[in-house]
Symmetry: C2
Subunit: 98 residues, 2 copies
DNA sequence: TAAAGTTACGTTGCGCGTAAATATC
DNA sequence: GATATTTACGCGCAACGTAACTTTA
């Protein structure tokens, strides 16, 4: 399937902000780049996640389902970083205790 | 950070098989391609995950920690696919019920 | 016509495979 | 020397940005 964490992050942000334009700014991307990313994510999953209109963005049922999982995965990724950092700090503490 | 699911899958496979060569074959990749992927994963995380030797592969402490999270994320990704498929089947059932 | 999203297109960087190098038993 | 991993290098595709297009309120 090959989904990357940036895909998830982009989708979650768009889901919350309900706007591709605004989210693109926040992520330091252009609108077309973000549009393309979201289209490809939907293609990979084989489902439509977003309902686009000139008013903004709404989630489909599949989108809502995906959102829950995406958030869980992003939390898991954060946990990895945190735990790896702790492990590193542990070593440094040992090193500096001589 | 930008980690993709293929990174996780590669790492988990290598962790279990304890060999880059063998895993590369199973994943239909060449050895250098897999090596490069693993190196970049370690670079992204800023930690060493694997201990390489001519005998094969062992996990570092960080590697073991990462493995647990990686497995959890892959399960979560599987769950997404399963649930999305169920949703689609649901629609088809409704459609065919006329 | 303004503000949202999308399509078209050229460029660049990343991931791959082939080939050569290195290390350890 | 056989078997493991790594480095070097060239190529192709995927992701980006700019610019033009489309839609709807």
């Amino acid at each position: 399937m090959d989904i990357d964490s940036m895909d998830l992050y982009c989708f979650v942000k768009v889901a919350y902000q309900k706007s591709i334009t605004r989210t693109a700014h926040h992520l330091h991307l252009t609108q077309p780049a973000l549009t393309s990313r979201l289209q490809k994510l939907e293609a990979k999953l084989g489902v439509q996640l977003l309902l686009r209109s000139s008013k903004g963005i709404k989630l489909t049922e599949e989108g809502s389902l995906f959102l829950k999982h995406a958030i869980r995965i992003l939390k898991e990724l954060n946990a990895i970083e945190t735990e790896l950092n702790k492990l590193q700090e542990g070593y440094n503490t040992i090193k500096s205790n001589h």
